[in-house]
Symmetry: C2
Subunit: 182 residues, 2 copies
């Protein structure tokens, strides 16, 4: 059915626009224009703007990427983030910060993202401690690389080669992973 195609186009358009401009600043009409349909169509398909956000939230998508690699875990996490940048793929770490900020129920959104992201990192780095402290530290470092490169445009490839960036920022993240637990 062609409904699936339109629905996919709408979700893809929303993903890009929410990531680029944020939730409030993105209108249903913006999404419709980019998806090539009418605003009413967007509403019919997604029910509400909040429903559209739920469908377009990029976190699920990327958070469970293939983790397999011979590289130490800290480097691997940084590598995948840098690769997303080089491929112009959505960056969930950067988007999450903004979506929390703009959420209607900010505390609920914050708690939800915190739980999911901390759990995802803990699983990746094998953090089985109760407090998940290392995961918090790793997550903070990754959020910074995401916000720095994607939102503020730091460390662009003409300034620093992607491999060198992975090497240097990866070393920082790896130092947390290799560090003490509590």
């Amino acid at each position: 059915m062609s409904g699936t195609t339109t629905r996919d186009a709408v979700i893809e358009a929303a993903r890009e626009l929410f990531a680029r401009r944020g939730y409030t600043a993105t209108t249903i009409k913006d999404v419709a224009v980019r998806a090539g349909c009418s605003p009413a169509m967007v509403m019919k398909l997604m029910g509400s703007k909040a429903g559209l956000l739920a469908a377009a939230d990029p976190s699920e998508q990327t958070l469970d990427e293939a983790a397999g690699s011979r590289e130490p875990l800290g480097y691997g996490l940084v590598r995948r983030l840098v690769e997303r940048r080089d491929n112009d793929a959505p960056e969930p770490f950067a988007t999450a910060l903004m979506l929390i900020h703009e959420s209607a129920d900010r505390e609920a959104a914050r708690a939800d993202y915190e739980r999911r992201y901390v759990a995802a990192i803990a699983e990746r780095i094998g953090d089985t401690s109760a407090d998940k402290l290392k995961s918090h530290l790793v997550l903070a470092a990754l959020l910074g690389l995401a916000g720095g490169t994607r939102t503020m445009g730091l460390l662009r490839s003409d300034l620093m080669d992607s491999e060198e960036l992975i090497e240097r920022y990866g070393a920082l993240v790896q130092a947390i992973v290799d560090g003490p637990d509590g």
Copy 2:
């Protein structure tokens, strides 16, 4: 004159609301209510919503804080950030990311924040290199700590003592500062 007082209240209210909810999601009326005046008064004082943002942008405020301390520079930068959190003071590193996202002219805002923040960090850590690579890396790490603690609520003081956080995240930032230049 009492005009100064109202103006200050408006700017203070805007600073808090922009930092909390973002630019688009904050309305002139929200600011007026919090400042205890009418929306028309806010407009008369600031001219436009963009003018209000310009006046309420927290970056200038905090970026040129007293840098004097015996502590190594990386630790000092982290300490000031953590202290702002513990004092519930506005966090320019966290706010900057969101304001770039929501800016009408995103690329211009991005370039402006990048220039100012990189320069501020370069001055602090004595980075005189042409590419300011270390400053970019330090800035990324600090943006992550800011976004992580303030927006996502990571590493709260019940989970990790502020001094220990400064010790551990400070070590990462200090490692960048002490690292090679290019």
